[in-house]
């Protein structure tokens, strides 16, 4: 018997030795996710911005993509950031965004030509990581990002400044809504991370300090409500 079989037989024995086993709940009898509050686009957006601010993030509002890139460039200059890396967008054209940032004097790294070791080294020297996110959660100010080869997860981890691009219609009311939008199929195929504010700790006397190992600053370029 393998160690797995041994364990399973120990578990069966233990389960049977106690109280008689209850029959498994019929399908669908398990607790259902909480309901999604029915909020309009403006309310979701306002709630998201408030929750994001509460966890130490900041929103940059923009009417469209081009204004967002402009504002990101201005932000990077004001933070004395000289270099950035940008991941493939979902709806944003990352190539043209990169070109425009370069034009504004930001050194945008080309990340698509190297393996993991070199990638890590390059990214560790970059001031800002820019990535479009898949979803956001209004109630908690959370950004949800699925990773793939063109949107590596380190992009939102290594650089001290993290900038997310978010379309307003990707803001969902709560965590349950986001999990059901992602669904079991997608979560099995891609690593996903939920980001709620810049990295933080309360390990010294329970005092909150922002900026531990992950980004110290988190900005969200929020692109207009497309449903209007």
């Amino acid at each position: 018997m393998s160690s797995f079989d041994h364990l399973i037989s120990r578990i069966r024995q233990s389960l049977n030795s106690g109280a008689p086993r209850e029959p498994a709940a019929p399908n669908g009898a398990h607790p259902q996710p909480i309901a999604q509050p029915d909020l309009g686009g403006d309310e979701l957006r306002a709630q998201f911005v408030a929750a994001l601010t509460a966890v130490g993030g900041a929103a940059i509002e923009a009417a469209g993509e081009s204004e967002a890139i402009e504002k990101i460039a201005a932000l990077l200059r004001s933070r004395a950031a000289r270099s950035a890396a940008i991941g493939e967008g979902i709806t944003t054209d990352s190539a043209s965004a990169a070109a425009r940032l370069s034009h504004e004097g930001i050194n945008v790294s080309v990340l698509d030509t190297c393996g993991p070791a070199l990638f890590k080294e390059q990214l560790a020297r970059v001031d800002a990581g820019i990535v479009e996110v898949d979803y956001a959660i209004a109630a908690t100010g959370t950004l949800v990002m699925a990773a793939n080869s063109a949107r590596p997860r380190s992009l939102s981890l290594l650089p001290p400044i993290n900038i997310a691009i978010l379309r307003s219609d990707r803001i969902l009311p709560n965590l349950a809504a986001v999990l059901s939008s992602i669904g079991p199929q997608n979560i099995a195929a891609h690593p996903v991370v939920m980001v709620t504010g810049p990295s933080r700790t309360a390990d010294i006397e329970k005092r909150i300090v922002i900026g531990v190992h992950g980004p110290k600053e988190l900005y969200v370029a929020l692109i207009g409500d497309l449903r209007r």
Binding site: S3, H6, L7, I8, I11, R12, S14, S17, G18, R21, E22, A24, A25, H30, P31, P33, I34, V55, L111, C114, P116, E121, A124, I137, T140, G141, A147, N148, S149, P152, R153, S154, L175, A176, L179, S180, G183, P184, I187, A188, P191, V192, V193, V195, T196, S199, R200, T201, A202, D203, I204, E205, K206, R207, V209, G211, V212, H213, G214, P215
Partner: protein
Amino acid sequence: MEPSGPDAFYAAAARAAADRELNRKLENASTRHFEHLAVAVSEFAPYQSERDAARRIKEESIERLDELLAELKQRLEARGVKVFFAEDAAAARDYIVRVARQAGVRRVVKGKSMTTEEIGLNPALEQAGIEAVETDLGEYIVQLRREPPSHIITPAIHLSKEDIGELFAEKLGTAYTSDPPALTAVARERLREVFLSAGMGITGVNFAVAETGTLVVVENEGNGRFCTTSPDIHVAVMGIEKVIPRFEDLSHFLEILARTATGQRLTAYTSFLSGPRAADDRDGPRETHLVVLDNGRTRMLADPVLREALYCLRCGACLNACPVYRHIGGHAYKSAYPGPIGSIVSPSLFGAGAAGHLPFASTLCGACKEVCPVKIDIPRILLHLRWKMTEGGGGQVAWPQAPARVRAAAGWFARAARYPSMMRAAGRIGAFLLKPFGHDGYLRRMPGPFAAWTRVRDFPVPSGGNGASGRETK
């Protein structure tokens, strides 16, 4: 860290109880924790119903444990994750050391994981010549002090910022500061290099989803993300009880875990890991291993009362709620799992000889049960264990009568727990509580560890005390 019998515990508890400075730090931190928790819980209307939902899913998960672990294994292996089932701590340690050796790993970065504390992984790695660096700030601090963590969420809760400032100045050669942001910046800078050069990352797992084969890691600092993204090998270590059935179940757990553990809505990072990187991925591990640990958990499963302890999310709230923990801190318990939940799981994980005295180290005030996000009836399990430890659980003891007597005393405790000054009466309280057991006939023979716990109860007695019977046994 493993407990080493009652005597070491009584000595350490007595020392800690007399340490006013320690008591002050623990009180401050616990008070701050509950201030944050109160806000996070009260603003979230469905908190109570989410607790019930989470509890029901845990009940289902444990009931279907065999089936769910088989499903998890199959899903993970289909994506190239290597799944290893470890019967005990030694098997888990040996496996991880072997993987590290075979890959020529010299340096390991670790995310915060109580399970790896439980199995004593760091000493085993070091013995094999592999450097193991703790990367959670609190863990990093206690590792520099060559100390175990004293809390499962806040490992350095027993230290003041001045203590940490002195530690950094001494061990890292930085200029003394007691400013938390400055101290944090030092750790960030030191550990960045370590992350990028480590060959293996080792983390715990908060939830493992059987349906999708997803490992969920919850953290705030980003060190967990580094450990699971940057090194070529990721080893996740979890107890068998971490598996849950469905992806959608996660919403219930994630909505309550951070609120209770740290008073946040969600932690800064929740990672949903799927396994090794794809061929064209730029980051993520080349190899992923999952170590699934029994180490006494199937023994807990076999006991219908103790089984409930396997629902634990390791949120740490019961530690902060516990008047005994708040008084003596985590180190005195000499177990990787201190506080109320630790007193329940330690005898099963480390053996009754090493930890059988711990179920007695509680006032049964019930605060732990109140705060527990999955409503584990900790006092009931503690009583059950006391019964098992004393009369061997032979069924001759009229133990159902005991809780009623204890409950009568517990009202007093609940009030006392709210006023730190009144907690100084803990010695008296304890004696009062224990007395019925000693003189009431249904527990005629005072068991060894029990007697010793009574003997060493020497919390300061407030003036006006009428002489604690606990002291009479000295």
